[in-house]
């Protein structure tokens, strides 16, 4: 084995032929985020879709009301995201035919999506998936997945391009991580509490406007779907377009 580099450029000559191969995946950017409250849950996502340095669309919604008071998003490779959500919607339809129109609980939907994702274990959907809704007790629920179906129920989760920018902010402002009660000498943590819907919307808007500032794949618009016992509601806020 060569242990030192020759002073001429012999080490820079490539003797192996270059291999070309079709890459079935691409990255369409975008960021999504879900937060669960006491009696509500929200799923938010920006509406920009990109490829490389170009904007494909400034308004391509990626949060969907899939029925039964469940909202869903699959962010990453847009084609896979759409395919996954279409497949889930179709299966939900069949479920209703088979069960006399009965409601699919969110925990059952969650487990079913795991099987949709793991079914393509060796040619995965290239997405980070989130669903949000209300559980059997009427409490807000957010479930998050990796591309091959590993999932977990959480209070909040960010996914997609700017997930790494938003997630620590959520830890700090939703779960009060690293915050202590002043005067307790770092002995008493700031107690957890459910945030109101107004507070959550404010956090979501600030999280996205911050991500827009620093991540080139995030921007144009912010669409938030809010799930309460009364159904699903949508809000839209503009984001910077540069």
């Amino acid at each position: 084995m060569q242990t030192t580099v020759a002073s001429e450029y012999s080490n820079e000559i490539h003797s192996v032929p270059i291999e070309h191969r079709f890459n079935p995946y691409s990255d369409n950017g975008g960021t999504v985020l879900g937060i669960a409250g006491e009696d509500f849950a929200v799923l938010a996502g920006d509406t920009r879709q990109v490829e490389g340095y170009s904007i494909q669309s400034r308004y391509e919604p990626k949060i969907f009301d899939v029925g039964d008071n469940i909202v869903m998003t699959a962010n990453g490779f847009a084609a896979d995201g759409v395919a996954l959500i279409d497949k889930f919607r179709q299966q939900l339809k069949w479920y209703k035919f088979d069960n006399f129109g009965g409601k699919l609980e969110i925990k059952s939907a969650a487990r079913y999506i795991q099987h949709l994702l793991y079914g393509k274990r060796f040619f995965p959907y290239y997405v980070s998936t989130l669903i949000a809704g209300l559980d059997e007790e009427g409490k807000g629920a957010v479930y998050s997945y990796d591309p091959v179906g590993s999932y977990e129920r959480e209070q909040c989760r960010a996914g997609g391009a700017a997930a790494s920018l938003i997630m620590p902010f959520l830890d700090n402002q939703v779960n009060f991580k690293n915050q202590f009660i002043p005067g307790t000498d770092g002995k008493e943590k700031k107690p957890l509490k459910y945030l109101t819907l107004e507070e959550v919307i404010e956090l979501v808007r600030d999280a996205f406007s911050s991500a827009t500032e620093r991540h080139i794949y995030v921007g144009d618009g912010l669409e938030i779907k809010i799930v309460t016992k009364d159904g699903v509601r949508t809000e839209y806020y503009p984001l910077k377009r540069d």
Binding site: Q2, T4, V5, S7, N11, E12, G29, V50, G52, Y53, S54, I55, A161, Q173, N178, Q179, F180, P182, G183, D185, G186, K190, I201, E202, L203, R205, D206, S209, E213, R214, H215, I216, Y217, K240, R241, D242
Partner: protein
Amino acid sequence: MAGLNFENYQRNSYLSTKGFATPRATSTGTTIVGCKFPGGVVIAADTRATSGPIVADKNCEKLHRLAPKIWCAGAGTAADTEMVTQLIASNLELHALSQNREPRVITALTMLKQHLFKYQGHLGAYLICAGVDPTGAHLLSVQAHGSTDIGKYQSLGSGSLAAMAVLETNFREDLTKEEAIKLCADAIEAGIWNDLGSGSNVDVCVMEVGKDAELYRNYLTPNVRSQKARSYKFAPGTTAILRESVRDILDVEETVVSFDQMEVDTEA
């Protein structure tokens, strides 16, 4: 430049043969343009600097001064555009002093292209070079490998296609100074909105024959961040501390006291 040091090149290329990745430089995945008008020339740039998909600097300066009336806009590797521009600015001033003449745009361009050609494209500097000199107003560009172009309007960088679309549509031979500024700013804005590598503000520099060059830093600021929904001030004492140490900074005042003023105890 005192000369580059190649010692770590050996170490790093050894590292890369072992499968170590090579570093990611800040690149100005940029939009820069220039356009001439009767009696002068305008150049403009956006102000976003990126590192991969992350915006490293929201308001960087891509317009560099080579001489008082010769300016250049840079795209490509940010460090290279900055350093190559500083080097040529320095040499150009020495040249102007030794020749006792105002520096010429073609001189700057020749120095740039010879330097860049020497480095065979490894210095990733793509520049639009413009200015006024005793021979008139000029607009030129130079690529990393050392090739150069002349034109009445030009664009470079990742947003060059968006910008050129605007330039091709709206350029005329008989633009006024104000129209030329507007055209350049519009071209940069096309890059800002439609190219993800470009963003934030527009910087403009106008060079007119017989006048001082004018730099309009942040000529347009169409991307000011709006007020946040909440304030995130923390109550003092929120963060837990293990240890604290304080170092006071004192101003030392020195006074000279001559010997005859000094009280000396001679008794003991």
